[in-house]
């Protein structure tokens, strides 16, 4: 491999910054070009109303690669947590909320059988998630082994599965391709519990509980840890931007040049090799290697262009499923809301409205036909409970992931934003009567908004559906799954690559290893 001495990284999302950090530490001259006026991409803290700050897209930190956090010394560059180990509280419009954490029930009604089943289920899922987490740290194997070196990651995966032990291996292989609905129905009685657990299999994806891949999505979601606690959820102090600001500070310290408001219009190619980029203002910059944190479709079909690729490869990229269904709702509140049955000290937990499996499936149904959910599934955080810096004194911020709001809405989003927001507020009102009157300002980001504001094709926060056919050596597509693209000198490092989305950084770290030739 030609040693790339100078590198341009397109996009200052967390993976781009992680990659830039490792490249700079290895002696590369790195320039990061970010289209927006601030770092972070979809992992940023933004002011959405005067004095009110919110994590723009991702709002819970639970997948951050612990090696990245440690190796880049993010704590030393300002990353701190406002709260770690959030509980998940399933709200109920009628009965009591059910609060869960680490496989235990913290409050609410649950039978003895369900309690023990929950412990067993959590332990097993965590074991399987650890297996997935180990895969995240490796460059995926190739489909065609050209050397023993290529076969090693595949052999390691096989060995990891074997090492689960006979019973767990059988169970892993049985459920990995199942849907989470069937897996939960096998184990639990409580509708509320099943709804709460199913949400992890569908959040951020275009899946319902009965969709294939939802078990994989749940394992993926549970594959992280915070301060060594597996599956824990955390709120960074200052919002998600704290992570990318720390990455940015680390990058600057490592000698990376970060340039904001520098939108790339085109990746330049000469004789089959990526040689640089052209910015929208016409400026051309050259480098020995170009690394794109943008999603695969943006990078390969828009910035590069299919004409620089082979036809079959371009077709695979074109058919990459990357259609987002998750919207984000941000509310500036003049005080703390009151949720039915929720103790005040629980307000700062992860609050979910996913009361049972059928509710989620019925919320998903319209998405299949290009319509939004009239009664959506919602994941809520009130970060200001733990972090008063995000709002003016006495005021609060509600950040919610709302599903399902398909990017490809049949009627288009321009006329649908208001009625969809009303539908979301109606559901919130049922659980928190009076919340509507507390809203001083609201911001709804549909997947179309996410596409426009963050440059993610389809507004999908994983840059590509999380599914076994777009997984590991097939992520984003065969022929680019080892971070190198068919175009010499052009690499991918974003969520569209293995392992996927979430504020993790593993893709950026793995990509850097490939670029440095050390994997």
């Amino acid at each position: 491999m030609t040693e790339a001495q100078s590198v341009i990284v397109i996009g200052a999302g967390h993976n781009g910054l992680v990659c830039a950090n490792y490249l700079a530490r290895a002696g590369r001259k790195v320039l990061v070009l970010e289209a927006a006026s601030q770092l972070g991409g979809a992992a940023a803290t933004r002011e959405f109303a005067p004095g009110f700050l919110v994590s723009a897209v991702a709002h819970l930190l639970h997948l951050l690669d612990s090696r990245v956090e440690r190796e880049l010394g993010l704590a030393g560059h300002g990353l701190a947590y406002a709260k770690t180990a959030l509980q998940t509280v399933s709200l109920s419009a009628q009965g009591a909320p059910l609060s869960l954490s680490e496989g235990e029930v913290r409050s609410g009604e649950l039978s003895t059988d369900d309690r023990s089943a929950l412990r067993a289920y959590t332990a097993r899922m965590q074991k399987f998630s650890r297996l997935i987490a180990r895969m995240h740290q490796r460059v995926p194997p190739r489909l065609h082994f050209q050397s023993w070196h290529d076969a090693l990651p595949a052999a390691a995966l096989a060995l990891d599965i074997r090492r689960l032990g006979r019973r767990d291996m059988q169970e892993f292989l049985r459920i990995a391709t199942m849907n989470i609905f069937d897996v939960l129905e096998e184990r639990f009685e409580s509708a509320q519990l099943k709804g709460a657990l199913a949400l992890d299999g569908v959040l951020g994806t275009r899946l319902g509980p009965r969709s294939g891949n939802s078990v994989y999505a749940a394992l993926y979601r549970g594959s992280g840890s915070v301060n060594g606690r597996p599956g824990a959820l955390a709120l960074p102090r200052g919002g998600m931007g704290a992570v990318t600001n720390a990455l940015g500070a680390a990058a600057r310290a490592a000698g990376v040049e970060l340039r904001l408001d520098a939108k790339v219009a085109e990746i330049l190619v000469s004789n089959g090799r990526a040689t640089g980029v052209r910015l929208v203002d016409g400026q051309q910059l050259t480098a020995d290697a170009i690394v794109s944190n943008a999603d695969p479709k943006s990078t390969l079909l828009r910035l590069l262009g299919a004409r620089h690729l082979e036809a079959e490869f371009a077709r695979r990229v074109h058919h990459l499923r990357a259609t987002g269904t998750a919207a984000k709702l941000h509310l500036a509140l003049d005080g703390l809301p009151r949720f039915r049955g929720l103790a005040p000290e629980q307000l700062g937990e992860r609050l979910i409205i996913a009361p049972d499996l059928d509710y989620i499936e019925q919320a998903f149904n319209p998405a299949k036909y290009g319509e939004y959910s009239a009664r959506p599934v919602i994941e809520i955080t009130l970060p200001t409970v733990h972090d008063i810096s995000l709002a003016p004194p006495g005021k609060h911020v509600l950040s919610a992931v709302v599903q399902y709001a398909p990017y490809d809405l049949k009627a288009g989003w321009s006329g649908a934003r208001a009625p969809f927001q009303t539908a979301v507020m109606d559901v919130l009102e049922q659980h928190a009567p009076g919340i509507g009157a507390q809203v001083q300002h609201a911001e709804l980001l549909t997947p179309v908004d996410i596409e426009q504001q963050f440059g993610i094709t389809g507004g999908h926060w994983h840059h590509g559906e999380l599914a076994l056919d777009q997984f590991m050596m097939l992520r984003p597509v065969a022929g680019a799954a080892q971070y190198a693209t068919p175009v010499d000198g052009l690499y991918l490092c974003g969520a569209g690559c293995h392992p996927g989305g979430g504020v993790m950084g593993s893709a950026g770290r793995n990509a850097a290893r490939v670029i440095l030739g050390g994997h």
């Binding site: 089959g272 299919a306 620089h308 690729l309 082979e310 036809a311 079959e312 490869f313 077709r315």
Partner: protein, 396 residues
């Protein structure tokens, strides 16, 4: 376009069918794509003789045709095929191949540059799916127009004379791979100096409504020039003599192959001259560059085979009797007065002048005989008359 209920008809007839059916004394037909076409009309040898000695007419209407238009048509064509399409000027035709990502040939065909930026791609196989895949990211419109254009190959030493008699003034000045339009019966008759026989010859392209008037006028014009309708069997003889390859016979279209070693690259089909690395990216470029550095696996060779028995499907051996390949096309060539064959052999065998062996089995009165025929690798076509390229073409 096909009628909406076209599927109710198992096999279609070409626009010339009323005439070809009337002439087909043998009633021998086979299916070419969705159409029925004649294997032979009267006698294959006589039909072959028309190609080489007078004027042969072959109905090639079933040839797959796609029309490519749009702002990016040139860029699209250049990304599709391995040669530089910018060099095919309007009014010219170019022979080409296209490959998959791995640089393996999907099909060969001809590009007709009809008008500036308007291309017609003619090929043996249907290509709409591949063309649409290849169109991702290009501003082009691709229309399958196989059924909208009727075609006749008019081939042989008197073909130019026949066309002049038909009223195509100045057709003798058309250079090989030239393309020219003539008015005909209130429409347009396109004439290209192209063919699959390796002889002097033309292909006529016309809208299907004018197909029968064209046939009648052509045969009237050729009455004193030995004009004769020919079937696929005679055409096959001439194309082997010319050394031309055929998809599905001399190579397996890459999109149909299951086993990776069954496909061939352009280099492995002796079509390296069609690969232009100096132009921008095309599908297969990276793989073909790699092949150029690493070396090819196979070589297409033209064999002059000892004796008079066609080396049908024969294994090919090196002098040490190591099996190195197989014959893909073979015949007794009346023009070359030799048994000739196309074969695919493993590298490094098959250098021009090399002597190899073909294992020929033939039957005499139900008894099988085996013959290890010595074969010499020759360069170029088995039969290559000067009249094929001569311009102005002989018109008497």
């Amino acid at each position: 376009m096909l009628a909406r209920d076209h599927f109710r008809q198992a096999v279609c007839e070409t626009p010339f069918h009323p005439r070809t059916a009337a002439l087909n004394q043998l009633n021998l037909w086979h299916r070419w794509r969705d159409y029925t076409v004649a294997d032979a009309y009267f006698d294959v040898g006589m039909e072959y003789n028309a190609i080489r000695n007078s004027c042969a007419v072959f109905d090639l209407s079933p040839m797959t045709k796609h029309l490519v238009t749009g702002a990016d048509s040139l860029a699209f064509m250049n990304r599709l095929v391995t040669r530089d399409v910018a060099k095919i000027k309007p009014g010219r035709v170019g022979y080409c191949v296209w490959c998959d990502d791995a640089g393996q040939v999907i099909d060969d065909g001809t590009i007709f540059h009809l008008r500036p930026g308007v291309y017609r791609l003619c090929s043996q196989e249907r290509q709409l799916d591949w063309l649409h895949s290849s169109a991702i990211g290009f501003d082009v419109r691709i229309v399958e127009e196989t059924d909208d254009v009727a075609g006749l190959a008019v081939q042989g030493p008197t073909s130019c004379a026949v066309l002049k008699e038909l009223g195509l003034t100045g057709v003798e000045t058309l250079t090989p791979f030239g393309l020219r339009d003539y008015p005909f019966a209130g429409g347009t008759l396109s004439v290209s100096r192209t063919g699959y026989t390796g002889d002097l010859g033309y292909e006529l392209w016309i809208d299907p409504q004018r197909a029968l008037p064209l046939w009648d006028a052509l045969f009237a014009a050729g009455a004193h020039h030995g004009i004769r309708a020919i079937g696929t069997l005679a055409l096959e003889m001439s194309r082997i003599e010319a050394g031309f390859i055929q998809a599905g016979v001399d190579f397996l279209p890459a999109d149909r192959a299951i086993r990776a070693d069954r496909t061939r690259s352009p280099f492995e089909l002796d079509l390296g001259r069609l690969v232009d690395f100096s132009k921008p990216n095309f599908t297969g470029r990276r793989a073909l560059l790699e092949e150029q550095q690493r070396g090819s696996r196979f070589r297409l060779v033209r064999l002059d085979v000892e004796g008079n028995k066609p080396a049908k499907d024969a294994y090919v051996y090196d002098p040490h009797r190591r099996n190195i390949g197989v014959v893909t096309s073979s015949m007794w060539s009346p023009a070359a007065k030799a048994s000739i064959a196309l074969a695919s052999v493993k590298m490094p065998w098959g250098a021009p002048g090399e002597t190899l062996l073909a294992e020929i089995y033939y039957q005499k009165e139900l008894k099988w005989n085996r013959f290890m025929a010595s074969c010499r690798v020759i360069e170029g076509a088995f039969f290559d008359p000067a009249r094929r390229r001569q311009t102005p073409a002989a018109d008497r």
